[in-house]
């Protein structure tokens, strides 16, 4: 494997374009666009303030740079470097900014979630959406980019509005039976909307595209509930991970639980394979399932590490969370389905894994920690 030279960036703002041809990085208030193959700088843009969020449009023609402190959003074009666009939210402030799926509208969430402003780059028009909800995931676009679901809260009740992204026409607006809606997520086929409640109540509601309630699922009461959910790419399964260290899978025909996966501290199931990273340098031997904890500051090239398969049963180190603090680091916090819906990767407990991402072929998985990353390759049938 070859490595390029080091490039500067700030705020972990480093994104590849959706078509895979360009690499955009932000260094303080500059936006640098490079060619992916040669890493030559193609364009250099200067923003008005330090960029806190950067996003490519879906057709890789525009880049959005958001500067929350000043309430500004600047949009740059790759085809015409002279083209510029500046959106000033004024004194109303800016908390988050993102593209719409067609790459021609910018959605800005103002401070205190007062409203969502939809700016159109095609005709300079503005639309306002009032009462957006500030929660874990209040806005979601369907996979084909046609519809947007937005969680709203008025008069102590939760509502969901479904907009048609074409012209921002409000298609449906309905109340949800949640106490405090925490998030919405479209299924990959765009027909079902999964809505989950706050972690104080375990409740998942499934709504059809036209606003009908299809089903409700609640595994237990009183204890802390759902952490996150994930749809399988074929829309056949919905995985729900919760604070009780279990993942429950619902099927899309009856919306009943068909599987339940546990994460016990003592792994003794004969079907499990446990990989432990063993490092040769004389420091802490980390004991993880497949990712390493934060280790020494020695450089990547000096530390030799390999993975060995542990004999069952294996005791996984468990950190007891502080019961007095809110949002304990307990439970399954990350879920990821592989592209062919064959595998489900989960992260339980307080392991320092920040993200799990599958390769599009579904054969390999990348685990990103704070300072390290690890690639896991699944055994394919030819290799058996």
């Amino acid at each position: 494997m070859n490595f390029s030279e080091l490039f500067k960036q700030t705020n972990q703002l480093c994104r590849l374009s959706p078509d895979g041809k360009y690499l955009a990085t932000c260094v303080q208030y500059r936006l640098v666009v490079r060619d992916v193959n040669t890493l030559q700088i193609l364009h250099l843009y200067t923003c008005l303030d330090q960029v806190l969020h950067m996003e490519w449009s879906s057709d890789s023609l525009f880049i959005l740079c958001a500067m929350y402190k000043r309430g500004l959003v600047q949009v740059w074009s790759l085809e015409q470097p002279d083209w510029h666009c500046k959106i000033d939210e004024g004194s109303i402030g800016l908390v988050s900014s993102r593209w719409s799926p067609d790459g021609r509208h910018v959605l800005n969430t103002t401070e205190f979630h007062l409203r969502v402003t939809v700016w159109s780059l095609c005709n300079k028009s503005v639309s306002y959406i009032k009462y957006p909800k500030a929660c874990q995931k209040g806005m979601d676009f369907s996979a084909d980019g046609r519809y947007m679901a937005l969680a709203e809260r008025r008069e102590c009740k939760d509502y969901i509005s479904v907009f048609v992204c074409d012209d921002w026409h409000l298609l449906r607006h309905f109340e949800t039976e949640t106490q405090d809606l925490a998030g919405v997520e479209w299924s990959p086929n765009g027909c079902v909307l999964a809505v989950w409640d706050t972690c104080l109540e375990y409740k998942v509601l499934l709504y059809s595209l036209d606003g009908r309630l299809l089903s409700t699922y609640s595994a237990y009461e009183w204890s802390l509930g759902i952490k996150t959910i994930a749809w399988s790419p074929s829309s056949q399964f919905l995985a729900i991970s919760s604070y009780d260290e279990k993942v429950r899978i619902l099927n899309h025909i009856t919306w009943k639980k068909i599987a339940e996966f546990e994460h016990p501290a003592n792994i003794s199931s004969t079907k499990a394979v446990v990989y432990r990273e063993v490092e040769k340098c004389p420091v802490v031997v980390s004991e993880d399932l497949s990712s390493s904890q934060i280790t020494v500051s020695s450089s990547l090239f000096n530390t030799q590490s390999k993975y060995e398969i542990c004999q069952l049963p294996v005791q996984v180190a468990v950190l007891k969370p502080d019961p007095d603090r809110a949002n304990p680091k307990v439970g399954v916090s990350l879920l990821a389905f592989s592209a062919n819906s064959r595998y489900l990767a989960t992260k339980n407990g307080c392991f320092q894994v920040l993200s799990l991402l599958w390769h599009c072929s579904g054969d390999s998985l990348i685990l990103l920690g704070k300072e390290q990353l690890c690639l896991c390759y699944m055994e394919t049938e030819e290799q058996k």
């Binding site: 879906s58 057709d59 525009f62 074009s77 002279d82 083209w83 510029h84 666009c85 500046k86 959106i87 000033d88 939210e89 004024g90 004194s91 109303i92 067609d102 790459g103 021609r104 205190f112 979630h113 007062l114 409203r115 402003t117 700016w119 780059l121 095609c122 005709n123 300079k124 503005v126 046609r146 519809y147 809260r153 008025r154 008069e155 102590c156 048609v164 074409d166 012209d167 026409h169 298609l171 086929n189 765009g190 027909c191 059809s208 595209l209 036209d210 899309h252 025909i253």
Partner: protein, 517 residues
């Protein structure tokens, strides 16, 4: 003296004086002690009167009559009375003995009773103590129970209380939250209003020029029609999804039903030949009927589809499968029993056969695995062929690549062929030149011959000219052409230029003797 008789009299009535009684009596009566003599010489008369009195009191005849002043005793009376007294005495002794034995018996009984009484008393005491202990324990346990019940009650009350507290707190918090939320909402509204009204820092967009839409179309007005269009699109999407799902489910259903049918057939097959041995003809008939009916269903998939939706048919299928499965299970259990009975005897042979069986199984499994892999790869290739939409170039390339080897071979062959053709052409050229040269030489030779003939003829005309003209004996045999006239005629003696025009003729002719070269 009468005291002793008094004691004697009291003895039998006094039940507490047991043992000394007989002794006293026998002592006092049988033992005659002369020291204590009752009658002496002096007091004989008094004694007689006293005894008389006593005898009369006792009911015996008098010892001496009253009237007699003489001291003459009635000896007969005296003897009778003595005898009577002795008899009485004996009787008394007997009675006393009886009484004694009775008394002894009674005494031993009493002792026994006393002993048992004592024992029972002890037992009673023990039992009382035990009872007391048990009662104490029971009391303690009751106390315990009471205290535990109290505890439970207290706990329940506490739980209830806590739940009430929790519920009330939850209500309070939610109420509070709602209130705060409303307040927050008001603040937000107010803030919104203030910020919107502020003129100094207004929100605006500065854009150099408008960008076209991503799909290239023009944006449309928002009208009722567009709204209804959105609605219809949304419903179309939902319908498509539902239809797809229904199709998938139908195919899955059909496959599963096929599997079930197959399973049922196999089960019937397994059970069929054996059932005749078991002697259940009725079941077989019914099974056959069922399979026949199902077979009819199988023949027509369209009909099957309709049958499928009929609940009756579904129930029939599942019921029949359950029946067959039960029969198989029963059969297998029977076989298992038989096997376990036989197994004890045939352990070794079974082990050996098991080994061979295992080997066989292993081999078969390997074969099956290989076949499966082969089928899988075939399927994959087939799918690739069918599914992947190739472009024409790639399709043609693909088609080409199959015959690439042949093409290469053909190219090679063509090249060789071309080479050979060139060779042939050059050879032909050579031969043409050779033939031309030959022709020239021939011409020359002919001219020479002609001149020689002429000379000869001229020389010979005077001698014998008739025989030489048609034949030319000077020519060697190889130069005798099949058609010497055609050779001679184009080779004119005068015109050398015409040789060229006849070169091709020469060439053709020259080709013929080439084989001889």
């Amino acid at each position: 003296m009468p005291e002793s008789s008094q004691e004697n009299m009291d003895g039998p009535y006094n039940s507490y004086r047991l043992t000394p009684l007989l002794r006293r009596y026998t002592q006092s009566t049988n033992f005659y002690s002369p020291l204590k003599a009752f009658c002496t010489d002096e007091n004989m008369a008094e004694c007689i009167s006293f005894l008389n009195e006593e005898m009369s009191l006792l009911g015996f005849p008098l010892l001496c009559p009253e009237s007699g002043a003489s001291r003459g005793l009635d000896v007969v009376a005296l003897l009778n009375s003595m005898h009577a007294l002795v008899q009485q005495h004996r009787q008394v002794l007997r009675t006393v003995e009886n009484l004694e034995t009775e008394q002894l018996r009674a005494a031993s009984d009493m002792e026994y009773q006393q002993l048992s009484h004592a024992r029972l008393k002890e037992q009673f005491e023990l039992a009382k103590r035990e009872n007391g202990r048990l009662q104490e324990r029971e009391r303690q346990l009751h106390m315990n129970i009471k205290s535990l019940q109290n505890c439970i009650k207290n706990e329940k009350e506490e739980v209830q209380k806590l739940q009430n507290i929790r519920a009330s707190r939850a209500a309070h918090y939610s109420h509070d939250k709602k209130r705060k939320e409303r307040e927050y909402q008001k603040l937000k509204e107010h803030l919104n209003q203030v910020l919107v009204d502020r003129k100094d820092k207004k929100q605006a967009i500065e854009i150099l020029n408008c960008v076209g839409r991503s799909d290239g179309k023009r944006s449309q007005w928002k009208t009722r029609k567009s709204e209804s269009r959105h609605e219809s699109e949304m419903y179309k999407i939902l319908l498509n999804e539902l239809e797809n799902r229904q199709k998938e489910l139908m195919t899955e259903n059909a496959e599963l039903r096929k599997v079930l049918q197959q399973m049922k057939k196999e089960m019937v097959g397994i059970l069929g030949p054996k059932r005749s041995s078991l002697g259940e003809p009725r079941c077989e008939r019914s099974a056959d009927q069922e399979s026949a009916s199902e077979g009819e269903g199988d023949c027509d998939p369209g009909q099957k589809a309709i049958e499928v939706s009929c609940e009756h048919a579904r129930e029939e299928l599942t019921n029949s499968i359950r029946q067959q499965w039960r029969k198989i299970k029963h059969h297998v259990e029977k076989l298992d029993c038989q096997v376990s009975l036989v197994q004890v005897v045939q352990v070794e042979s079974e082990a050996a056969s098991n080994e061979t069986n295992d080997q066989e199984m292993g081999r078969l499994k390997l074969e099956v695995q290989q076949c499966k892999e082969f089928i899988h790869t075939q399927q994959q290739l087939l799918q690739q062929q069918l599914i992947s939409p190739c472009e024409e170039e790639t399709a043609s390339l693909l088609k080409d690549c199959y015959v690439l080897e042949e093409k290469e071979r053909f190219k090679e062959q063509r090249r060789i062929f071309e080479e050979q053709r060139k060779n042939f052409a050059s050879e032909r050229q050579n031969f043409t030149e050779a033939a031309i040269r030959l022709g020239h030489e021939r011409k020359m030779f002919e001219e020479d011959r002609a001149t020689w003939l002429k000379h000869h003829f001229l020389n010979l005309t005077f001698t014998d000219h008739v025989t030489h003209i048609p034949k030319s004996p000077g020519l060697p045999a190889e130069y005798v052409e099949p058609d010497p006239k055609t050779l001679l005629s184009p080779v004119t003696f005068s015109d050398a230029g015409s040789v060229k025009s006849s070169a091709t003729a020469d060439f053709h002719q020259a080709l013929l003797p080439q084989s001889r070269f």
